[in-house]
Structures are given as structure tokens and as C-alpha cells.
Amino acid sequence: MKSMGQKSVFYGVIVILSLIVPWLLPAYQTQLAFLWVMVVFALTWDVVGGQMGYNSFGNIVFFGIGMYVTAVIQRNMHFDIEEYVHVAGRVETLTPVQYLEGLFLGMGAGVVVAVVIAAGLGACILAMGMRGQYFGICTLGLGVAAGELANGWEYIGAGSGLVTPVFPDQLGQRGAFFYYIFFILAVIAFLTLRYLYAGRFGLAINAIRDDEDKAEAMGIHTTRYKIIAWCISAFFLSLVGGGAGHLIGFIDPTEVAFAGATFGVWMILMAILGGKGTLWGPVIGAVIFHITQELFWTYLFGWQRVALGALIVAIVVFFPMGIMGWMRERWPERFGHRVEEREAFSASKGGG
């Protein structure tokens, strides 16, 4: 166990490093901003998938909802809708105040919409007691259906997508601006989850993961906890979605907003790679996965998506326990497990 002093030094180094990194690597600001998006993806997936054992394939829905709501509010506040939809190329620049107003109001509205939808879906799916693979496939269907609906809905640009307003120059560089927004969101998400996992909530959702029927018999309001966990996921995902739409600048319904085959799978994979059901696992997994992914883009251009597909299969098939799981097996005493010396000796002899 690390002492308090060591811990605060550790956190301090990470925070300071994170704050200065966009100035050390100015060429990679956008990619770095996305690093924090990935961290939030993995963390929020892990609330439902890892800690609660409800393997969702459709959390991307909330990301897309946040993105679209923010963009639509930004658009409706400052532009004539008809004109905007049809002359997507000619977008007047906004003043910084207008831009920020639209962005933050939009993100706020996005959160409200996403959480309401999450609660509604939770009341339909989770409260009905859908579990296991059926829950996973049902959420997968939700994710794809949402993308296809957005693909056909004229009001939000249908298949040709939605362009977010140009980033005003007075606010500095776009990459750096969103880097800090996502960094703050990731830190808030991390601290919130750390707080929640340490308390009653964490125990309750872990009990649901381990044996839902017994948890219910013990008097835990499983449905309530399941819906709350699902809503927490939606809360952070929609905030990140709202920012990500503005960072990318163009919202494609199936490739960006409801990108089930990329972001939707990656968030599961990052959590698994790091170790699902742990606090740090998703963070580590997200960092490693994102760096690998960017390296693939740089060095395997054209084949990067093929390589990513192979990586997905490789991680799931060969490394399902994740980095944290592997470390727990390697150094159990660091995770607070007591190790019987004799057992360890005979096991190592048997293994060797």
C-alpha cells in the first residue's frame, strides 16, 4: 500500500504533466484532447460493464445524443435553421461569447436529454430484468438503431451530417481549448467514480455483478442502482460528446456520433485491456490503446483499421484479464490480498 504522501505526489505529477503536455507537443493537441475523451469512454463504460457486470455495447448512444443536442442548440441559437442546413459550407464565424454560450448551454441540455433518455431506457430494459448477453445485444441494437435514425432525420442533417460552427480565433487554439475541457471532465469523472466506488454505491453495484438475485434478496434496490449507474455513464458521455462534436467540427451520424464499430467497441476494449472492474484499469487501458491506435494511423496508414480489428481480437482472446488483472495475479499483496507463503512456494514450484 502506498502512503498518503506518495499518493499525493503521484497524483500531483500526473496533473502537472497533463497540464503542460499540450504545450510540449503542440502538433498533437487534438490527439491529446482525444486521449481524455477515451479515458472518459473507458471509465464510464466500466461503471456499467465492469463494476456492475452489465456488458453494454450501446453506451455510444449517449455520446451521440450529447453531440447532436449540443450542436443543434448551438445552431438554433445563432443561425437560421433553413439556411444553415442547406448552405453548410458558408458558416459565419461566431464571437467567442456566442460560441461559449452555445457550447455550454448545449452541453447542459445534452446532459439533461441524455440522462432522461438513459433513465427511460433503464426503466424499459434494466427494470424489466434483462441480463447477460441479451442486455448486451439489446444495447448493441439501440446503438445502431440510433445511428440509423439520425441518418434519416432531416432536421439534424440526416446522412450528410451536421457542421458545427467555426472555432473563434480569439479563444486560442481549438485543440488546446478542448484538451483542457476534456481533461477537466476526465478528472471530474475519475474523482466522482472514486468517491462512488469507495462507498455504498460501489458495494451495491459490485454485489449486483457478483450475484444479482442474492443482492436483491439482501435488500439492495437493484433496479434503482442499475438505473443510477446507467445514468452516471450517460451523464459524462453526453458531456464529452458535446465537446467532441465541436472539436471534430463535423458530425457524421454513423461514423462520428453513433460510431458503434469504432468508439463503441473501443470503450469496451480499453476497459478490458486495462482491467475491467478496477478504477485505474480503464485509465491505463485508454492511454495505451489510444497511443497504439495513433501509432497505427501513422505507421500503417491504409491498413490501420485492419490492424485495429486484429488488435481487438487479440486483446479479447489472449488478454481478457487486462493489465490490472494481470498485476493482481503477479503481485497480490499490493492489492491488499494476504498471501500464504507456503501456498505461493508450492504454486511456483508446480508452475515452474
Binding site: 430484468g129 440509423e148 491498413w303
Partner: protein, 299 residues
């Protein structure tokens, strides 16, 4: 809902939609039969099902470009997919067959993404089709048109499904497969090489999908990223029919084909995919509702 009025004013048009839907539905049923086989025997929900279908289509398309008759391409696609399925089993599936369902869904989903991207690289991202060179029938003074290839593919799908059913019933290997599905451990004790059974089952499923894909490329179009819809259709059909219910699979497949065709017409073609995936959610919710009722009776 203007299109709804059209259906009432010209009932003959409903017939057109119904025929088209039923004919394509047989192909869905064929792919679903394969999924049910793998699900029943190996307890794996194969999420690369649709990609196998699309890959089969692309193989027929490639042979067609080389001047080979597309009908000859059906066994060729099945053979190639059999090998692909066998290889994928030995590399990937063999390691996850004992794992829980979440891992197997995720692994096969990863495989699906890999296959999509490979097809995208090799065959290109364009929508492709193969013209088998058959005529069209005009019924009711031309009010209803039926492409002959759709009828032919309907019967080929039914015949292939029947051959597979007979294979499972009569041959030694088929009996081994069914024994493994009933009780893997007992089958192993009685001398069935379950590993070989698994490999054969997975490869057979891939071959069936390849044949289904060959029919799809002749009657419809294929595209590297269109696979997921076929996976979801197969999954829905299996859920509605139940594993091991061949007649149910056929009827559910035909019903889904018809329902999808009507929905595509009523809501517009751009919402047809959305309809398929929303239907999945609705079916799962309904299934859960029924299970819940059953649980309440047990109390």
C-alpha cells in the same frame, strides 16, 4: 404515412411487397439456421455471421469478374468460406469456446470488424452486385413483377437448408454434432472428438453463410460494411424461433423478410436498417416481458 394510403388503394402493391419479402426471407432463414447451429452446439453467438454472408457474396462477385457463372459460384463460395471458418476456428474460436458469452460475443464482434476492414481493403468500399442473366415475370398485367433469380434463390436456400438438416439427421458426423449440442461432456465421454465437432460446425456455418451471401449478391447488393444487419437478422430469427426449431427458423425468416419490406416501403428506404435494429430491441423486450410473466407464475 402517404405510403400507407397507397397500400389501401392498390392492394396489388402489397402483394408485390409480400412476394419480394418472402423470397428474400428464405436467405435470412438460411443464415439464421447456421447461427442457431453454432449457438446450439458451441454456445457461441457468432457476431461475424453477417460478414461471412458478405464475404460469400464478394467471392461470387470475384469469380463472376473472372467469367465464372454465378450459380457455379455458390458451391465455390461455400467451399472457400468453409476453409475460412475452419481457419478462424483454429486461430480464434478454439480459445474462447469455453469462455463466457460476453467474451465470445466481443471476440466474434472483433472478428467481424477485422473481416469488414479486410474486405474493404481487398474488394473496395463500393456497393456491388452480380447479374445472373435471368428474366423477369410479369403477373396481373404487369402490376406485380417477380425477378426469376429471386424465385431461384428462394428454392436454392430451402434446398440447402434441407440438405443440412438431412446431414445432421443421418450422417455419423451429423449425429456427433447433435450429440455435442445435447451434452458436450457426455459426448466427450462416449468418444466424440468434440474439438473436431466444433471446428466442423463452425466451418459448416461459415459455408452456409457463404452460400447465403452468394444468393444475396445475385438478388440484392453487397457492401463490406453491410454485414451487421445480417447478423442481427439471424439473431432475431433464432430468438423468435428458438434454437433447434428448424420450421420456426424458416417461418420467422420469411416473416422478417416480409415485415422488413413493408417497413421499408412505409417509412422510406433510409429507415429500413433502423427498423431492423429497433425491431431487435422490441423483440428482446417482449421476450423479457414473457419471461417475467413466467417467473411470476412460478411464485
Amino acid at each position: 404515412m402517404d405510403n400507407l394510403l397507397i397500400l389501401f388503394e392498390a392492394p396489388i402493391f402489397s402483394l408485390q411487397l409480400l412476394i419480394d419479402g418472402l423470397l428474400i426471407g428464405a436467405v435470412f432463414a438460411l443464415a439464421a439456421y447456421g447461427m442457431a447451429l453454432v449457438w446450439g452446439v458451441m454456445k457461441i453467438i457468432n457476431f461475424a455471421q453477417g460478414e461471412f454472408v458478405i464475404l460469400g457474396g464478394f467471392i461470387v462477385w470475384t469469380f463472376f469478374k473472372l467469367g465464372i457463372n454465378p450459380f457455379l459460384g455458390i458451391p465455390l463460395a461455400a467451399a472457400v468460406l468453409f476453409i475460412v471458418g475452419w481457419v478462424l476456428y483454429q486461430i480464434v474460436i478454439v480459445r474462447i469456446v469455453e469462455e463466457d458469452l460476453f467474451i465470445s460475443i466481443l471476440a466474434t464482434f472483433g472478428m467481424a470488424i477485422l473481416l469488414q476492414q479486410l474486405m474493404n481493403q481487398i474488394f473496395g468500399a463500393d456497393v456491388q452486385t452480380v447479374d445472373p442473366g435471368l428474366d423477369t415475370w410479369f403477373l396481373f398485367d404487369g402490376a406485380v413483377t417477380v425477378l426469376q433469380i429471386k424465385v431461384v434463390s428462394f428454392f436454392i436456400a430451402i434446398i440447402l437448408g434441407a440438405i443440412l438438416a438431412v446431414f445432421l439427421k443421418k450422417t455419423r458426423l451429423g449425429q456427433a454434432i447433435r450429440a455435442t449440442a445435447q451434452d458436450t461432456r457426455a459426448a466427450r465421454i462416449l468418444g466424440v472428438d468434440t474439438n473436431k465437432v466444433y471446428a466442423t460446425t463452425f466451418a459448416l456455418n461459415a459455408a452456409i453463410c457463404g452460400a447465403a451471401g452468394a444468393l444475396v449478391v445475385m438478388t440484392w447488393v453487397i457492401q463490406p460494411f453491410a454485414g451487421l444487419a445480417y447478423t442481427i437478422r439471424s439473431f432475431m430469427i433464432v430468438i423468435v424461433a428458438g434454437i433447434g426449431n428448424v420450421a420456426g427458423v424458416v417461418f420467422a425468416g420469411l416473416g422478417l423478410g416480409a415485415a422488413e419490406n413493408f417497413a421499408g416501403f412505409l417509412f422510406g428506404a433510409e429507415f429500413q436498417a433502423a427498423f431492423v435494429f429497433s425491431l431487435l430491441v422490441v423483440i428482446l423486450l417482449y421476450r423479457n416481458y414473457k419471461l417475467r410473466l413466467k417467473r411470476r407464475y412460478l411464485k
